[in-house]
């Protein structure tokens, strides 16, 4: 039996036109959805489960009750059950930092004892991009970040992964299990939940877990980081219009690209 834990997060998406209100964005401009990277992580786990004999996929989220609708989507796509970590104490926290998330998720990992933990590379809203690796460090698992291809050898206890590095370089690595892999978009093609999947998901378990359940008190959420301001960067548009026939405009474009260093050796 193999167990895969997938961390998922409900992220806030901002409408095109929005207003900042103090340290946040007014609720009226927000919509909530499953974090894009996590969608790929869920799909990867479900594909492993479908290819294997006895694989359990458990998804875990830290989020308020509202996030159950989002986490049910992961269940509808094929996760077997879910855990939702929440507590009244979260209501008074402005910023849940990586250290706090790490503490909570590491405690869940220790309880569940999975062979593999899949996380998204980053969350689309707060964008720390560190939680997966930080959890690996805390629980002493091997890890690989920004994985865009995964070939799991469960019997051999190894995950063969391809990682995307800067500048188009790709790296092949073997990671011993248990491991945490942070999943990059494009690793697979996430499915749409089927109607039957959605119906089954209504009956699957979403187990609540409080700070107490995980052996913490409210101080586990304390953070040395404080949110001090939020603003929209000034944007300027800088469009160059090329005029002339195809040959002339192509020459002008080539000139610009050369200036910017494209194609330089």
């Amino acid at each position: 039996m193999m167990k895969i834990l997938v961390t998922v997060k409900e992220v806030a998406e901002v409408e095109d036109d929005f207003e900042i209100d103090g340290l946040g964005i007014d609720e009226a401009y927000l919509e909530y959805d499953l974090n894009e990277w996590d969608d790929y992580a869920v799909e990867e786990a479900v594909q492993i489960a479908e290819a294997g004999d006895d694989v359990e996929v458990v998804s875990v989220t830290i989020g308020p009750e509202r996030s159950e609708e989002t986490i049910r989507m992961a269940l509808a796509k094929g996760a077997d059950r879910a855990i939702r970590v929440w507590d009244d104490a979260f209501e008074s926290v402005d910023l849940l930092d990586v250290a706090a998330k790490t503490r909570l998720l590491a405690a869940v990992v220790e309880k569940e004892d999975p062979d593999l933990v899949l996380t998204g590379v980053q969350a689309a809203d707060d964008g720390f991009g560190a939680t997966g690796v930080s959890v690996a460090d805390e629980v002493g698992f091997e890890w690989a970040a920004v994985v865009n291809e995964l070939d799991l050898d469960a019997d051999g206890g190894v995950a063969n992964v391809r990682r995307e590095l800067e500048g188009g370089v790709e790296e092949l690595t073997e990671v011993d299990l248990p491991a945490v892999l942070t999943i990059q978009t494009g690793i697979n093609e996430p499915r749409y939940a089927s109607l039957r999947g959605i119906r089954q998901a209504q009956r699957k378990e979403i187990a609540p877990m409080s700070l107490d359940d995980l052996g913490f008190d409210a101080s586990a959420l304390d953070s040395p980081i404080a949110l001090t301001g939020m603003s929209e960067p000034e944007s300027e548009s800088d469009a160059t219009l090329f005029e002339g026939d195809a040959e002339e405009t192509a020459a002008q474009l080539a000139e610009v690209l050369r200036e910017k260093g494209v194609g330089a050796q």
């Binding site: 049910r72 749409y192 939940a193 089927s194 109607l195 039957r196």
Partner: protein, 382 residues
């Protein structure tokens, strides 16, 4: 926009279905719409996608591999698929009519033979009631199915059959006695029993949907392919069509919503007199009217669906919903074109197609005039 009553009364399952089908409509269905319309070809890959989502088994009982949706869920799915492309929603709803007929009237053997495959998307179903000389009054039909030993022999012409080319399973209405208008009976006729498919109609809108005539020339079918008792065909058709009307009304809502959304985006972007046209009062009033119409239509549709789910008689409310929502779809898409100005008159913008597509919703599965007839009967004679 804020959540409405219509949405907050949905169950978690219904909301999740709405979200997924909406996403599928925007990501997978809508992008095929323009070329499907232009080339008059049905986007088959989209159909396969619908099947993967279990939508082709929407009205198939669970024991035959379907989803057995309640009418509210059926309505939501129709609305969202039509938000992507009306031609796809129409094809799906006709396929659903066919599976509903088999589920409601077929023998166990027939259900076993057809429903599991149809739930998985193919064979595609057809619903053949209309004829060249019998539209609003189907009792006037001329197609006959005459008993001959263990078989029925079918002769006649059906007209305006959705999925006429791509369909393989035909739910056929025919008289068993040419001289008795009350002998209309429902049959299941596989296309390969010898149905001849006519030319595809050239249409104003809904051009991606294959609407054809079907010709029956001494087509022989085994007697067990009769779905209803002789003479029970029309009342069976009307029961199934009441549910169908909720579906068409829902499609009209989806189409109107997409026209409204396109117009809103355009009105924010388009500037005249140094300001977005969305700040001009007469344009703003159009939006107020359009949004009110869409909202009212949706509430009427959901109420008609709720009544059916609660086991109440919804014949009048379904007719009201179909009448109101389809006329609103024509009005709203008309205004969406107007808001686009000249750009709304060219194929480059989706509202041009939405306007052409909208008109069919006031015609098929009972014209607006026929809906009013049903409503008036309920009000005055009920």
């Amino acid at each position: 926009m804020a959540t409405t009553q219509a949405d907050s009364s949905l169950t978690g399952e219904q909301r999740a279905i709405r979200d997924v089908v909406r996403e599928f409509a925007v990501e997978e269905i809508r992008p095929t719409a323009r070329s499907a319309d232009e080339t008059e070809t049905f986007p088959e890959e989209v159909w396969d996608g619908l099947a993967e989502l279990d939508l082709t088994g929407l009205t198939v009982p669970e024991e035959y591999g379907g989803f057995d949706a309640d009418r509210t869920t059926y309505s939501i799915v129709n609305e969202e698929v039509a938000y992507g492309q009306l031609a796809v929603a129409t094809a799906l709803s006709v396929h659903c009519l066919a599976t509903e007929c088999i589920a409601a009237f077929g023998t166990d053997e027939q259900k076993e033979r057809w429903l599991p495959d149809m739930a998985h998307g193919r064979p595609v179903g057809m619903f053949a009631l209309s004829e060249p000389q019998a539209g609003s009054n189907p009792a006037q039909m001329e197609t006959t199915a005459i008993r001959d030993g263990d078989e029925y022999v079918v002769n006649g012409d059906k007209q305006w059959i959705t999925n006429g080319q791509r369909g393989e399973v035909c739910i056929l209405f025919a008289k068993t006695d040419p001289d008795d208008p009350s002998s209309v009976t429902q049959f299941l006729v596989p296309k390969d029993a010898g149905i001849e498919v006519g030319q595809k109609e050239k249409k104003l809108g809904l051009r991606a949907s294959d609407t054809t005539g079907l010709k029956f020339d001494d087509v022989r079918i085994p007697a067990e392919n009769r779905l209803t008792e002789e003479g029970k065909g029309l009342s069976a058709a009307f029961t199934i069509l009441t549910g169908g009307r909720v579906g068409i009304a829902s499609q009209a809502v989806g189409l109107a919503q997409s026209a409204l959304d396109e117009a809103r985006e355009y009105a924010h972007e388009r500037e005249q007199f140094d300001k977005p046209i969305s700040s001009i009062q007469s344009i703003r009033h159009k939006f107020a009217d359009m949004a009110t119409q869409v909202h009212a239509s949706r509430l009427m549709v959901r109420e008609a669906a709720r009544q059916e789910d609660a086991g109440e008689d919804n014949r009048v409310s379904a007719a009201m919903a179909k009448y109101h929502a389809s006329e609103a779809a024509v009005d709203v898409s008309n205004e969406a074109v107007q808001i686009h100005g000249g750009y709304g008159y060219v194929t480059e913008f989706d509202v041009e197609r939405l306007y052409r597509d909208s008109k069919i919703t006031t015609i098929y599965e009972g014209t607006s005039e026929i809906q009013k007839e049903i409503i008036a009967r309920g009000v005055l004679d009920g």
